[in-house]
């Protein structure tokens, strides 16, 4: 009861109201914590997961062997893989159609046939990708990994489906 009275005395009330004013004026003279994004950038964490991209070997050939693990494990079904054998050694023998399918005209062709299976198309719908990092975690070849480039925005939904060349470029 006594404390109640004290709480309600005018002096106490105005003192507590002044404490609030003091706090705000103190912050007024502090340096803002803002960073001006398009001009300045904050260092983001090393582990930060933005969107996946495909890794290539030193010679430019794909690491991905189309094992479908990432497609299986992806919770949001964002990854779509079609498998096929990409034979880097005999590029000249491929028809135009095949080249298109394998996106080879965009890829730097390797110099040898590594004899491995490769995806003929590898698509990730970035508007479905939830950046969970499961594909990177499960990939046995370290072919897919999460990038840290978050600056992505689209004007329409078709742009958002990244094919193989975009996935490699977006590294």
């Amino acid at each position: 009861m006594n404390t109640e009275k004290q709480e309600n005395s005018i002096i106490e009330i105005s003192k507590n109201l002044l404490v609030g004013l003091k706090t705000t004026i103190k912050t007024f003279f502090r340096k803002p914590v803002t960073f001006q994004y398009p001009k300045e950038r904050l260092a983001i964490a090393e582990r930060f997961r933005a969107f996946p991209h495909l890794n290539v070997n030193g010679d430019g050939s794909l690491r991905c062997v189309a094992c479908f693990l990432c497609q299986t494990v992806c919770p949001s079904e964002a990854i779509k893989i079609k498998s096929g054998y990409v034979d880097y050694g005999f590029e000249h023998e491929l028809t135009e159609r095949q080249k298109h399918n394998h996106s080879l005209d965009k890829l730097k062709a390797g110099t040898f046939n590594d004899g491995r299976r490769h995806p003929s198309s590898f698509e990730i719908d970035l508007l479905r990708c939830i950046c969970c990092g499961y594909c990177e975690e499960i990939c046995p070849e370290e072919a897919i990994s999460m990038g840290s480039d978050y600056e992505v925005a689209f004007y329409n939904r078709d742009e958002a489906i990244y094919g193989m060349e975009k996935l490699i470029k977006s590294r």
């Binding site: 508007l127 990708c129 978050y150």
Partner: protein, 164 residues
């Protein structure tokens, strides 16, 4: 204001276009309209560290005073009419940002109760992927929207079509 309909195409209108686009570009007021996870990140953009007041954005709680609606989160079939209603209540010119996967395409939730992309209900100008996108990504999306507004003219163009 309705003036723009009476003006023809001449040098005055083109320079007016530039001025108006400039004004619109730096004064995009989003409606306070949050749905799910991305709404929290949207609030974060207003917070001290990201502070989108820098770019001239302030939240208006009434859609009548807003230029932009940031659809931040999954839109359920129960909610869809409200999203549409808020959009209809906004005065022209108005823009829509689909923030995050769920709003853009349904994202993770390809299920019975979620609309697969808010663009089935209202036209979307900018899609921002991510689940949820970083606040920086939202600001990046807003700068993309600004680029789009800058190219716009005084006469209000038809918004992008609704995907069906």
């Amino acid at each position: 204001m309705g003036i723009e309909e009476h003006l023809g195409d001449n040098i005055i209108t083109t320079s007016l276009d530039k001025i108006v686009s400039w004004g619109r570009k730096w004064s995009i007021w989003p409606a306070t309209f949050g749905l799910a996870c991305c709404a929290i990140e949207m609030m974060t953009v207003a917070s001290s560290r990201y502070d989108f007041d820098r770019l001239g954005l302030i939240f208006r709680s009434s859609p009548r005073q807003a230029d932009l609606i940031i659809v931040s989160g999954r839109v359920s079939y129960k909610m869809a009419p409200m999203v549409k209603r808020v959009y209809d209540q906004m005065p022209n010119p108005k823009w829509v940002i689909a923030m995050g996967d769920c709003a853009s395409s349904g994202g993770l939730f390809n299920v019975y109760s979620i609309v697969q992309g808010v663009d089935r209900i209202i036209p979307v100008d900018v899609y921002i992927p991510g689940c949820p996108p970083r606040p920086e990504a939202l600001i990046y999306g807003i700068t993309k929207l600004q680029e789009k507004i800058e190219k716009g003219t005084l006469k209000h163009e038809d918004p992008p079509q609704i995907l069906r």
